[in-house]
């Protein structure tokens, strides 16, 4: 059965919407395969606006890998803005892919990549527009398998009723394996129907099918246990880890959109994983161990990416890029190669040391020295010990002084507010640090032309981290501390004018906290919010805290739990957490010990350069740290002048 393009019907709506180009596809390097020649068809969705979703690396990688398989095709779909949603509803145009404008419901799999929980309501819009029942239990043979991935999928319980399955960890190999399972099942005449294929996926141990597990609760609202409800389904589901990144040098053909997007650059992931051990950082915990891409693969990917895309900026991505064992060689090699060209290089710089400035100097050879960013994260020495961000005040002052004296005029410092054990004085410490930074900068440069911006995010405790047991700070406390910090900076006559402050109010963090550590009961809240018109929760102009709270009160009516129970309540050691049956490889006892160490200001070193501290990932997953140095150099290439 072939499907018709929805484009002629969509086209009539486009003159009436904002930025119509985001819905037409046709990106450079996009792929449209013949529908009838494929057996397994994937619609990949990034559940946010096109401008945010298009640059997403995860979706681009899976799109390319799946389309390379002979019997598989993959297309992409994104959240449509409310103006188009209204028109689509009025005209009966269903959710479409941007590649060939095929209806999403016609695909075998709808794969959603959740970088953040704030995309959940957008998933419901897409399902509804596609004509796919919201609840997994209501779906039939003509509906796709709704599959969630991305970091938020490490606790998919709040969306357990809406998805059919979830995958944890790196997607490259498991996406191919899932395609193969579906292909075989279809070739055999789809035995057992929908449950048949889901059971096959669940039996692998690498795909979580929520409805094959029952959650039992205690009278006080805590979870009693989570157990499989049929045979063959494993009691734990494990994450996936790609061990050799050099074997997976994707994206090879980066998508180049016509519409403007949030990242206008070609990005190369230089390694995955991070073992710095920052206790707030979910990404650092769930992506272990560290696996580096070699300097030669990085060099080849950058060269290929620029030629294929025409982008003029290259970003070297990872959780802490300066930690690559050969980052100095990579930086120098690339800077030499592109010297005098109009290709610029960027490195998300978060490490606070002088080495980072050497790197930044290399990367700014072709451009200007505008701003440098560092992330001390905690305002006081004590706070930084709690979160295991091992940066002393002395390090920080020395580093920024070097930066200012080498011509950088603007330094940006990232912090968090609402961290466990935080007191007012810890947040006010941010002002002290910023003042010392400016003072040192003025002395080093002999000029008043130095600036510092402090950027403050609200801390949200995340699953699979040592802070998974912690009480989240209530938004009143966060807002009060931020207000005091702002007043302190404002009233500082000597340095205040040189210090900028960026922050958000604490309310969105509470909703994010609810969704991050929620269980299946939270699904009812999400659905109510969506029914009430909730969309694009990651966008402040669309987000409504009051709506979330009102819908939560309604949805949890009669339950022994409420929003506070999910957010500002500290958990005790043996409470069953909603994600305990989902295994990121981290040893639960180690996480608990690390939480105790946090409270006692005990730090832990990085296992790349000190002995293993038994987080549990390598033995559980059968993995090991993959780092250089390889000792190889980047060869100079002839480049575009």
């Amino acid at each position: 059965m072939s499907v018709e393009s929805l484009f002629p019907r969509l086209e009539a709506l486009l003159p009436k919407v904002q930025k119509p180009i985001q819905y037409v596809g046709g990106e450079l390097n996009s792929t449209v395969k013949d529908w009838d020649e494929a057996t397994v068809r994937w619609a990949l969705m990034y559940p946010d606006a096109y401008e945010v979703g298009l640059p997403n690396q995860g979706v681009q990688i899976l799109y390319e890998i799946l389309n390379e398989l002979p019997e598989t095709l993959a297309e992409r779909t994104y959240a449509v803005w409310p103006d188009l949603e209204r028109l689509m509803r009025a005209e009966g145009v269903p959710q479409f892919t941007v590649d060939a404008h095929r209806p999403v419901r016609a695909f075998d799999v709808l794969g959603l990549s959740f970088s953040t929980e704030l995309g959940y309501t957008n998933m419901l819009t897409a399902l509804d527009l596609a004509g796919i029942p919201l609840s997994s239990a209501d779906r039939g043979p003509d509906d796709p398998i709704v599959l969630a991935g991305g970091h938020a999928a490490f606790n998919p319980e709040p969306i357990a009723d809406f998805i059919d399955a979830a995958v944890l960890g790196d997607g490259e190999q498991i996406a191919i394996a899932i395609s193969e399972v579906i292909r075989e099942w279809k070739a055999e005449g789809e035995p057992g129907g929908r449950d048949g294929v889901l059971l096959r996926l669940a039996e692998t141990g690498g795909v979580y099918v929520p409805r094959f597990y029952d959650v039992e609760y205690l009278p006080d609202g805590r979870i009693k246990r989570v157990v499989p409800n049929r045979s063959g389904v494993p009691s734990r589901v494990f994450k996936h880890t790609v061990m050799d990144l050099d074997e997976w040098p994707y994206p090879k053909k980066p998508l180049v959109p016509l519409a403007e997007t949030v990242h206008e650059r070609f990005s190369v992931e230089i390694f995955r994983g991070c073992t710095r051990g920052c206790r707030f950082c979910q990404a650092g915990m769930i992506t272990r161990p560290v696996r580096e891409r070699s300097i030669t693969t990085i060099g080849a990917m950058v060269d290929n990416g620029i030629r294929e895309s025409g982008f003029s900026e290259v970003g070297l991505l990872s959780l802490s890029s300066a930690d690559h064992s050969e980052i100095g060689e990579v930086a120098k090699g690339l800077a030499d190669r592109y010297e005098g060209s109009n290709v610029s290089l960027s490195l998300p710089s978060t490490r606070v040391d002088a080495f980072n400035i050497d790197l930044a100097n290399e990367f700014s050879r072709n451009g200007r020295r505008s701003g440098l960013t560092f992330a001390p994260e905690g305002g006081s020495e004590r706070m930084r010990k709690v979160i295991n961000k091992m940066v002393s005040e002395e390090d920080l002052i020395r580093t920024v002084t070097t930066a200012y004296s080498q011509g950088w005029r603007q330094v940006k410092l990232y912090f968090m507010c609402g961290l466990p054990t935080e007191e007012d004085v810890d947040v006010l410490g941010i002002a002290d640090l910023a003042r010392k930074v400016i003072k040192a900068g003025r002395e080093a440069t002999g000029s008043r032309d130095v600036r510092c911006t402090v950027s403050i995010g609200g801390f949200v405790p995340k699953p699979h981290t040592p802070f998974q047991w912690a009480a989240q700070a209530d938004h009143e406390t966060v807002d009060r501390r931020l207000r005091e910090l702002r007043n302190t900076l404002r009233n500082d006559k000597q340095y205040g004018k040189a210090i900028g402050m960026r922050y958000h109010d604490g309310k969105p963090s509470i909703v994010e906290g609810l969704l991050s550590r929620g269980d299946r009961r939270v699904g009812k809240i999400i659905q109510k919010v969506w029914e009430d018109g909730g969309r694009f929760d990651g966008w402040s102009e669309h987000f409504s805290y009051d709506r979330w709270m009102a819908c939560a009160a309604e949805a949890l009516d009669g339950e022994p739990v409420d929003v506070d129970w999910y957010t500002v309540r500290e958990r005790e050691e043996h409470e069953v957490l909603p994600w305990d049956h989902l295994d990121a490889g981290l040893d639960r006892e180690w996480l608990w010990q690390d939480w105790q160490d946090a409270v006692n200001d005990v730090e832990v070193e990085d296992c790349r350069w000190t002995p293993c501290y038994d987080c549990g990932v390598c033995p559980t997953m059968g993995t090991e740290i993959q780092i250089g140095p390889t000792g190889r150099k980047l060869l100079p290439l002839t480049v575009v002048s």
Partner: protein, 245 residues
Amino acid sequence: MAQRLRVRYAKRGRLRFTSHRDISRAVERAVRRADIPVAFSAGFSPHPRISYAGAAPTGVASEAEYLEIAVTRPCRPQELRAALDASLPPGLDVLDVVEARAGSLADRLEGSLWEVRLPGADPAAAESAVKEFMTAAEVAVERLTKKGMRNFDARGAVASLVSLTADQDDHGEGGPNQSCVILRMVVRHETPAVRPDDVLMGLRLVADFAPPSPPSVTRLAQGPLDASTGEPADPLEADRVGGDQ
């Protein structure tokens, strides 16, 4: 700077939904992919020296868009045409390239020939609306601009406007049982700019003529207005004179 090249390109099909900014990003990337030795502006943040003349609005297709590229070493126009075309996404198609020889290209773009297809519209009603519009001395319309609602005359800039009926066999846009009215108009480039949708609004105001479905608009040509034909001539002709294209 060694040379300036003038480029005519088309914006076709679904790529008519590109905005002016979308196109300039796509061209800058295509120039890099095609290895064209584009010149950069001097200063703090250098930009490629590519300038655009009279870009068609978002949602409007065009067979006659123009840009000018400065390059640092001489290029053969036909080679540059092929290389740039191959590097742009299908739908942004490079039609013609000449070396700039004299004068300003923007100054030569005096007017545009537009084609507006109105599937399902009534030919007789269109004809009488056109007549009404052309006999009026002035037709005041309003449009929402960045500076708020603006009132201006849509009639003065219209040099000619005719209504035709489409050949159903060639263009089946409106379906087999539907007529398709085609408006052809030559509009002078004046300030404030009068666009085809302003003329359509004028037709509604003077004769209550409202097409049943969204119009599909294409710019067929822009250039110096030829006194004998009343239509825009090729604006690159002046660069071709004496040249060895």
